[in-house]
Subunit: 371 residues, 4 copies
């Protein structure tokens, strides 16, 4: 069975997420990176192509050229991966969909809510597979938690705490990765909320299967001189009445990538941390505490399918990311079982950013989340 | 040097906190329990006296009798410890102060804010030592964090997260300990917020040395049929502009007594958990993470004074509680160095309860905390 | 019910373990320290008495005086607690038993095996209660592990790993606590093996209910100039054929008091650490991992009886030590249920020291442990 | 730059380690799997080729055919990866070296010491790159520990504890992975010692840079009916006099892949666990404890080079394995800086197995390790 051929937009020299997409896509040998418009600077795109060891002729100077020339090849690309900063997502997605190529795109969907609404319309009318790489939904034990909650193991969900502390923006931003994230022109109206808050939000909805219906938000720009928020505190209410809190921060000195979710129901609770992703605590109403681990015989099909090594052989971020690509490949091949997030999650993420920024700025107290 | 003589109000058969006060008071042999009005039922008071192994004649049928008869003795009590449910605090404190006895009282100060205001006036006019047993401020490493923050080790404080999850009220309350806490007639207007939320609040102010100036509160009664809140989420703003969140819950299945505080400043961060109280993580801006532990040579005077064993010999809840009594004994002897909380903390705790209940019920968004 | 009256031998100024005995003995108000021969220097004994706040006349200049004068009092001591360095244990125990007083003594039993044999004879012929404070057998969860193993929960035991790393003697010994422990004249022939190795050994036999029958020992004096061993590695074989290892060290920089035991059987395994004493991991053959915690509803009678606070309120070293005193008090009152170690454990500990030192020095390979 | 072309021997259907080699080899796009003799059964080899998505014609029925046909191609394989059970290593390595192909081979080197000696001679005379996949030496933080110890950060090394507990063979072996490991005909004379003991041994020597010079071994076959050892306890002495212990087990119910190493020197200590591979504890003589984590600014060049994601984005087993392949690729390209183990480690591993089995069987006590 031949591999699916991927063309990347973005991911040029110095990029963090481009190489991650490349590794994730290829990990299971179902996909191969064969082409790219890695940078808007042709020379940088060429250099990136070299570093990815693809055929030199397929490192294109711009998106339009890539789409045109690949369309002309027998072995042209089967889909596009968009790994640029947020404000370039919409044009890249639009161009790919227009030539009939499915798209997998980094999160958040876009830089603004208006763009996201437009993107949602494009995706809907194109009728092509479209995925968003909300990475953390790819972890095996995240999928296990989701399955157990869906099966009712925790009973009615009552309380959700999702946190995402980081510390890397505790000082003035330096370096390519930091700079665009704190620049409204490139990141959009949200800083921390757009970069990691949406991850936490998506995780909470993904794991619980519940939609947020109201929020009370407090976003702040803590580091002097910063325009976009670098710390977010949002109280949540879910569709079933469950209560919740979302705490995300990029000024929490010492925190690395501390995404964590706790969910409590009538009958039990769970606690999972991204930095130790191969286990979660499972609390029972009778007082027992279990540690559920990757490789345990009792795991469900989704977790098993998302694991590549036996218990005790830790898997991490790249493997989780690869699970999203594997799901996307399933969609491309018309197979069932994909759990990779799509445009619906993307739109909700942009709504969250828009609502939270506004609610916080205007001190609105509780506000409703659009259905 | 003879021991200080303590008379207890409350702490009758079945009580949790009475025996804790007894152990804590006597741990360092500076104080001795000699008398008590342990219950409003004379027979139960007598039985409690027996279980505490005090002289039978000094297990009194009521507070007034105890105060009168002890006053008549050469070796009468030197102070009173109040360990009753909240709604009995004010009359007990009033009675003791009126006969000139210092008081150490369990938290929160009272059942209502009005009572707390009255109590504050009584304490102020009595001019006698008065302490409130906010237990967690007695832990050696809590005091170490406080000292380091006061010394500027973290720089300007920017963010505080204090959590207090418990799960023991996830079902209909059963048993003496649970029942009074969910009964407005005995606990006051606050449930979770009054039982544990005030602990978290006091800890945050104690450790940071900063006062909260605004809150945005979301309290809920999650378990069907419950009147008082059993889950609290409160966003905080501190006097220096620092942002914060307080999450307390009694319906988080599987959580025991998960008090935890994280404080992030310009130059570093800390993370402490009550269930592993003999260490905290210390984060440095340069990326280093330290684990500061009881017994470390670098600890300050306050932490050293509050420890009784060498590093690696765990101390716990009772020892922390005993530190409050040791501090109180210092006050009674007119010595400096006490860190035990007093009426000021008590009043702020009651203000928090009052504000949070109101703000949540009326969905007020941000409201100011009285200065 | 009046309290049992304790006279202490040892525990003078600067002592670590004397005050620990005092707190432990009194924690439950069943015992009261009333007298002591705290030091062989009368002035130091007097000062210690002052620090313990006992009646000045009952701080005696020597053991003989204490035993004589207390015997003459109506309210004389009911038993003796021996807390001196090892080489003073035997004379103190002998003197107390001779006047008909029960004894609780610190571990190891004596400084030499010959002394231990003599002590065993004295104890046997006296027919009085005699206890040794192998502290760690007092932890509630240690007793829970013991009960579960005795009940067959792990099936046949196959493997035991007991470790006790410390680092405080990684440099030349300084201070009173260190100096006597590295001095053969006061500590005996064993250094690390006598100070902490015997604790690990006793814990292994206590928890598993199995006796060691063979050992292969490797003791070393790592720090230059040291005479006694400061690091021990011993392979074990138990009476049922189970395999084991005992690793104790006082030169492991950074380790505090890292006693840990792991036991694996046919049907499960356990893992407990003294520095987090309120939980242990419980492994099931079907792959499930449980965290068993203090306060869990499923705990057995022994663990429940040994706990004073609800789950989540950590108890520690002093409380474990107090459980030994509570057990000893039971023996004094003729009540059943005591789990405090006695002379049998003391003798086995001294045999271990003797055998391990000899086997290591002469490189004997496997040698038999006396039945 | 084109990719290096790999041919695999072994790794047929049901294999665990074959797919791991494939992912590891390709993770960085420096190597591509293009051919294989995946099984001695031609049909199974064909199926495996299909699952790896290689060109059908290059899934060969046997090793000889692969080597011959690949040699005839312009784009023939550049090296061979051997992933078979132990007793097939030597013939596979011999065949590859004979046709001038470098080899990367799974550990342990061979099934017997004699084979290893022959293999060492073959490798020496071939003068071609040869690597052994002692996986755990590929972890970034393992390399960081090695660099720090080499730099003298811990001072003179005094004590090493390396453990490798597993529980998966606690019952009668079932399944392909288990069966060959407990069969002397396929695994060799060592069971647990050959499967995981050598990993622990190699890690200890790799991290400390010290050779073991003496051992005292106790191997056992715990599960009834088992011929090969399933539990090992070995005391170690290193060339500088440092003391050590190696504990490996496959009958420790509940343990997954608990490789852990602790090293203590004059000036500090370290503690690393494979199941949480992205951090290690660093102990300082002054009492400070640091947690050194992947992504920390203070890490050395070797750790940085071996990491692919920023701090907080966990990397695991596959990434560690990939670091060995990346090193091997460096060797193939004639670049410096490789840390992948080679034949010297392989030979020492086989000596360990041979010595430990003999010493244990004959109860020899201390025996010397060949220089």
């Amino acid at each position: 069975m031949s591999r699916l051929r991927m063309g990347m937009i973005g991911g040029g020299p110095g990029a963090f997420i481009g190489p991650v997409h490349r590794i994730a896509a290829e990990l299971d040998r179902e996909i191969e990176l064969v082409a790219g418009a890695f940078s808007s600077d042709p020379e940088r795109s060429r250099k990136a192509g070299e570093s990815y060891r693809i055929e030199p002729a397929r490192a294109y100077p711009d998106v339009a050229t890539m789409l045109r020339e690949e369309a002309a090849r027998e072995d042209g690309i089967d889909f596009v991966a968009v790994t640029t900063p947020n404000h370039h997502h919409l044009p890249a997605v639009r161009a790919a969909l227009q030539v009939g190529l499915p798209v997998i795109c980094d999160k958040p969907a876009t830089a603004t809510l208006d763009e996201a609404i437009e993107m949602a319309e494009l995706v809907a009318s194109a009728g092509l597979p479209f995925a968003l790489t909300y990475t953390y939904s790819g972890y095996p034990l995240v999928r296990e938690m989701r399955a157990r909650i869906a099966a009712g193991d925790l009973g009615q969900i009552r309380k959700v705490i999702v946190e995402y502390p980081q510390g890397w923006l505790a000082q003035q931003a330096e370096g390519k990765q930091a700079e665009w994230r704190v620049d409204p022109g490139r990141a959009g109206i949200g800083g921390c909320i757009a970069d990691i808050g949406v991850h936490a939000f998506q995780l909470a909805e993904f794991v619980t299967g519940l939609k947020v219906t109201r929020i009370m938000a407090d976003l702040g720009a803590v580091v002097p001189g910063r325009v976009l928020d670098d710390d977010c505190q949002i109280l949540l209410r879910f569709e079933n009445g469950a209560r919740g809190a979302l705490l995300a921060s990029q000024i929490s000195v010492g925190e690395r990538n501390g995404l964590r979710i706790r969910v409590y129901g009538e009958k039990g609770g769970i606690d999972w941390r991204q930095e130790s992703p191969n286990a979660f605590a499972l609390y029972h109403l009778d007082g027992r505490t279990e540690l559920v681990q990757a490789g345990d015989p009792g795991l469900g099909a989704a977790a098993v399918a998302a694991s590549r090594t036996p218990g005790g052989h830790p898997e991490g971020y790249l493997e989780a990311f690869a699970n999203l690509y594997r799901d996307f490949a399933k969609q491309l091949r018309g197979e069932p079982g994909s759990l990779v997030p799509g445009m619906a999650d993307g739109l909700r993420g942009m709504q969250l950013i828009d609502l939270a920024v506004r609610a916080s700025r205007e001190e609105l107290g509780w506000i409703d989340f659009p259905a």
